[in-house]
């Protein structure tokens, strides 16, 4: 997955580079071109929302409220307080904060455990045939099916919820870390050996950086997974969180609240992804630099 993700990006920017140079030479054309670019980027999205607004207004269906109404509902539910409480309402602290905290705690735990296990297991190349099938099996366990088990063992509390998120998020990180460590160019290791660099130093300065693009790819997959598992875990005997809010709205037939929660979850997921990509770009700047040259 990671190769699939990194390669086309590298290709695209490599292909874009000469074109950009040409444009710079032409000079004065740049300004309108930039505007056209922005129009091309956001025009269709705006048009789509406008179309959505138009169709829902005309249809006036109970199940499909207008996007403007949904946005208003989101603001009203979670962001309608005065400045003194930073605009967020009490509902924000019972719905959004516990959910995001659970998802991120579970995800971080999974990342730490997955990377640690993956680094050790990946070094042991001969064990690959033994380790990979069970790990793949664990990954393909449908996570919702495990929910009752976690519920039975841990009971309905935050330990169960965070445990479930961690359990689900470990596998992509673990698999990618193992693959990353295994696919380190052997000549790197041989070079390190040839220069008598101690094993622990090789591990930290050669193996870990070389595997990091794949590790980040696995963590990104897990990040979106953590939100899914968070919602899932809050469906079972919870008293707060967005998952609970969703189910509660469904029981009360509040279609508008369902749409509002879905929109808010989309915004949260989008923001988390943006933050993650920024951090990733910061950490992997050297990697992108190399892959552009090479």
């Amino acid at each position: 997955m990671s190769i699939l993700q990194s390669r086309p990006e590298a290709d695209a920017s490599a292909a874009a580079a000469p074109r950009r140079r040409q444009r710079r030479m032409r000079g004065p054309v740049q300004q309108p071109h930039f505007l056209a670019q922005q129009l091309l980027r956001f025009g269709p999205a705006i048009a789509l929302v406008a179309l959505w607004q138009l169709v829902t207004t005309l249809q006036d269906s109970v199940f499909f409220p207008t996007p403007v109404a949904i946005t208003q509902r989101v603001l009203e539910l979670w962001f309608s307080s005065p400045v003194t409480s930073f605009f967020v309402t009490d509902a924000f602290w019972t719905d959004v904060v516990p959910s995001v905290t659970r998802a991120l705690t579970g995800w971080l735990l999974a990342a730490v455990i997955g990377i640690a296990l993956g680094l050790v297991a990946g070094q042991w190349v001969k064990a690959a045939g033994f380790i990979d099938p069970p790990v793949n099996f664990m990954r393909s366990l449908p996570k919702p099916a495990i929910v009752p088990i976690f519920l039975l063992v841990f009971g309905a509390n935050d330990a169960m919820r965070i445990g479930l998120i961690t359990f689900g998020c470990i596998w992509p990180v673990l698999l990618n870390t193992m693959q990353g460590v295994r696919s380190v160019d052997p000549s790197f290791r041989e070079t390190a050996t040839a220069f008598h660099i101690p094993a622990w130093k090789t591990f930290g300065r050669v193996v870990l950086p070389a595997a990091s693009p794949k590790i980040f790819a696995g963590m990104r997959v897990s990040l979106s997974l953590s939100l899914i598992l968070m919602v899932l875990s809050e469906w079972m005997l919870a008293e707060n969180g967005l998952g609970y809010f969703l189910l509660d709205s469904q029981r009360r037939f509040q279609v508008m609240d369902l749409w509002a929660a879905i929109l808010l979850l989309g915004v949260i997921g989008y923001l988390l992804n943006v933050v993650f990509l920024t951090v990733e770009r910061r950490f992997l700047r050297w990697h992108h630099a190399i892959s552009l040259v090479g």
Binding site: M1, S140, P144, L258, G266
Partner: protein, 290 residues
């Protein structure tokens, strides 16, 4: 792994534009392929046995009430028994049906869309904000809404599966199309092949490995989300329904664990099946097999 791939006969149809074809496989290589395959299966089973043993040990330590956490020596025979139980097979089929139909519909939408987005930079720029935002909504979150709109039947399950599996299929198709050899496309253009024929004869075959990877990921996520839908809304059939029934109504924990193991096996075999198909049909490219 590499050697297995090379030992497969390469059909001339798909080999166009890839590495020179391998010499035909003789009996020696076939025999060694078989032993190697058996060895890899044995290693995998060894890994599974280790996993089962560790779990057995954990359960026997009795940190948790063994009635809540039955050991693998109880769960595995129960799973075996259930696998041949026609009643449980009906539930598996109910879930599989939703997954397969959903993934098929998602393919019909995502692959053409991916071809367009991957081929034209302008289409990509225009659709990126929309796709990025819609994709950020966790698929599971739309289940309660869909239940209100579509009820609890098969169509709701299929709709969720389509929504969730659209993204891996779309992204893998886009990456596949972007990875197509420039020279191959330019060659097609210099032979005056139209865009339609270029897509069908050049772009599609060479992005097939990544599309198949997308199908593999889609089947796994589709199964997950179908079971999620069954557990969360209380449908009247499916693996999730069975698990829910056993855990709440009967408190039959061995049956719950056995059903979870079997659900995992279904996911695992879907994964394995697509890997085998990928190896067979796109043996000329190792990108799809990882």
């Amino acid at each position: 792994m590499r050697a297995d791939v090379l030992a497969d006969p390469v059909s001339p149809d798909v080999a166009a534009g890839s590495e020179p074809s391998e010499p035909p496989a003789n009996h020696m290589t076939r025999a060694s392929w078989l032993t190697r395959w058996l060895a890899s299966v044995a290693r995998g089973l060894g890994g599974f046995a280790a996993l089962a043993l560790v779990y057995e040990g954990l359960s026997r330590l009795e940190l948790v009430n063994p009635k809540l956490l039955p050991p693998s020596s109880v769960v595995l025979p129960r799973a075996l028994e259930m696998a041949f139980d026609p009643e449980f097979q009906v539930e598996v089929w109910a879930t599989l049906q939703a997954v397969l139909v959903g993934v098929a519909i998602a393919c019909v939408i995502a692959i053409p869309a991916g071809l367009l987005i991957g081929s034209y930079t302008k289409v990509a720029t225009a659709t990126t904000p929309i796709v990025d935002f819609v994709r950020s909504v966790p698929g599971i979150a739309i289940i309660p809404l869909l239940v209100l709109i579509m009820g609890q039947g098969l169509s709701m399950k299929i709709a969720v599966v389509v929504y969730v599996t659209l993204w891996p299929l779309l992204f893998n198709t886009i990456y596949g199309v972007r990875g197509v050899d420039r020279v191959a496309i330019e060659t097609a253009r210099s032979f005056r092949m139209g865009p339609m024929r270029t897509w069908l004869r050049v772009v599609m075959p060479s992005s097939l490995p990544l599309i198949l990877t997308g199908v593999r990921l889609a089947l796994a996520t589709g199964l997950t989300v179908a079971v999620a839908a069954e557990i969360s809304v209380g449908t009247r059939d499916g693996i999730g329904y069975y698990i829910l029934l056993q855990s709440y109504a009967g408190l039959h924990h061995d049956a719950v664990f056995a059903a979870v193991v079997l659900a995992g096996l279904v996911g695992f075999s879907l994964n394995w099946l697509t890997t085998v198909l990928t190896k067979k049909y796109v043996a000329w490219d190792s990108r799809g097999v990882q």
